[in-house]
Symmetry: C2
Subunit: 235 residues, 2 copies
C-alpha cells in the first residue's frame, strides 16, 4: 500500500513537473513575444535585447521537457488523458520554441530599423496586441486544460490574418510611392509575416490542447481571414 | 510461445507501419518541394498545381502517424530505440507537414508570378536544388536510420543560408534600381525565405534521426552560413 501510494504520487509529480516545464516555456515565449512587439512598435531598443538572449533557455527547456516525456513514457506507461497530455507536450514544445525564434527574429529587425519618417505602425500595433493576446490565452488554456478557451483561441486567428493582409497592402503602396522606403518596408513585411506565423503556431497549440483534453481533433480547416485580392502576394 | 511470437510480430508490424507512413509522408513532401521549385524556376504553371493539392493528403498522413504512435505507446510500452523512434516520428511529422506548407506557398506564388524581364533566377535555382537535395538525403537517412547521413545533412544547411543571403542582396538591388520590380522581387524574397525555412526543417529532421538512432543530441548550435553585412535584413 505504501509502495503503491508512493509510486502513484511520484508519477503525479512527474506529470506535474512536465506541466511546470511547459508553463515555464510558455511564460518565456510570451515574454519574448511581448518584448519583440514592444521593440518594433515603440522603437524600444532596450526591449529588443531580451528575446534573442532568452532563446538558449527556451531551447534548454524544450530538451528538458522532451527528456522527461520520454522518461515518463518509458517508466510509467501512461494511458488515456495522461498519454495524450505527454504527446501534446512533445508537439507543443516544438511550437513554443518556434514562436520564440520568430520573436527573436522580430527583435533583431527592430534593432536595425530606422523608423524616421517611415510608415505608420498602427496596423502592426493592433496585430502585435492581438497575437500576444491569443498567445497568452493559448498558454492559459494549456495550463488550465481548458477546452472552451482552446476553441476560442483557435477561432481568433482569422482576425490576425485580416490585419496581416491590410498591413501588407499598406506597405506595398508605401514602397511603390517612394523607393527610399523599400528597406524599412521589407523589414516590416517580414515582421508582419513573423507575427502571422506566431499566430499560426498559437493556433496549433490550441488544437493540441483541445485534443489532449477531449481526445477529439478540431476540424482540419479552420476559419481564415484576409483572403482578399492581395492574398496571393502576401500568403 | 505462439502467443508471444504473434505479439512480437504484430508489434514489429506496427513499428514498420509507422515507418512506412513516415516514408510516404516524406515522399509526398519531397514531391511537393520538387514541383514547387520547378514551378518557380522554370515558370511551369502545371507543376504549381500539385503541391497545394497534396496538402490534405500530407495532413491526413500526419494524423494517421500520430494516432498510430499513440496506439503503440499505449499498448506496447516500447523501450529504448523503439521509444525514441516513436517520439522522433511525432516530431518529424510536424517538420514534414510544415515543409509541405512552405512548398505549397511557393507554388501559389509561382502561379501569380510574371517573370517577363524579371531578375535572374540563377541563385534561386541553386538554392532550390540544394534544398531539395538535402531534403531527399534527410528522408533517406530517416528511412535507413543512418547516423552519418543525418550528420552530413545537418552540416549542409550552411550553404543554403549563404545562397539565401546572396539572393536577398541581389533582389534588394533590383528593387532599388526600378520600383516596377517591387512586386516580383517581394514574391521572390518570400520564396527564398520559404526555401530557407524548408532547409531549417530539414536540419531538424536530421537532428531527430541522429537522436533516434544514437540516443545523443547533436550540439544545439549548428554551423551557419550567410551571416554577412546584410544578415540583419534578411534573417
Amino acid at each position: 500500500m505504501t509502495e503503491a501510494t508512493h509510486t502513484v504520487k511520484s508519477y503525479e509529480q512527474e506529470l506535474e513537473h512536465l506541466r511546470s516545464l511547459m508553463r515555464q516555456m510558455g511564460g518565456l515565449v510570451e515574454r519574448q513575444t511581448a518584448q519583440a512587439v514592444k521593440a518594433i512598435v515603440d522603437g524600444d531598443d532596450e526591449a529588443a535585447i531580451e528575446p534573442p538572449e532568452l532563446d538558449p533557455e527556451v531551447d534548454e527547456l524544450e530538451r528538458e521537457a522532451e527528456a522527461l516525456a520520454i522518461r515518463i513514457l518509458a517508466l510509467r506507461s501512461p494511458m488515456a488523458v495522461d498519454l495524450r497530455t505527454i504527446v501534446a507536450a512533445l508537439k507543443i514544445t516544438g511550437d513554443l520554441e518556434r514562436i520564440g525564434d520568430y520573436a527573436s527574429s522580430i527583435a533583431r529587425r527592430a534593432m536595425k530599423l530606422d523608423m524616421e519618417g517611415g510608415p505608420s505602425l498602427v496596423g502592426l500595433r493592433s496585430m502585435g496586441r492581438l497575437v500576444q493576446d491569443n498567445l497568452r490565452r493559448a498558454i492559459d488554456a494549456l495550463a488550465n486544460e481548458d477546452r472552451d478557451a482552446s476553441v476560442a483561441v483557435w477561432q481568433a486567428d482569422a482576425a490576425v490574418d485580416e490585419l496581416y493582409t491590410a498591413m501588407f497592402r499598406e506597405l506595398m503602396t508605401y514602397m511603390m510611392e517612394d523607393p527610399r522606403n523599400i528597406g524599412t518596408c521589407i523589414h516590416l513585411m517580414f515582421v508582419a509575416k513573423n507575427l502571422e506565423r506566431i499566430g499560426d503556431h498559437t493556433t496549433n497549440i490550441a488544437e493540441r490542447v483541445y485534443y489532449a483534453v477531449t481526445g477529439e481533433m478540431l476540424p482540419s480547416v479552420r476559419p481564415r481571414g484576409g483572403r482578399g485580392n492581395m492574398a496571393s502576394l502576401q500568403s
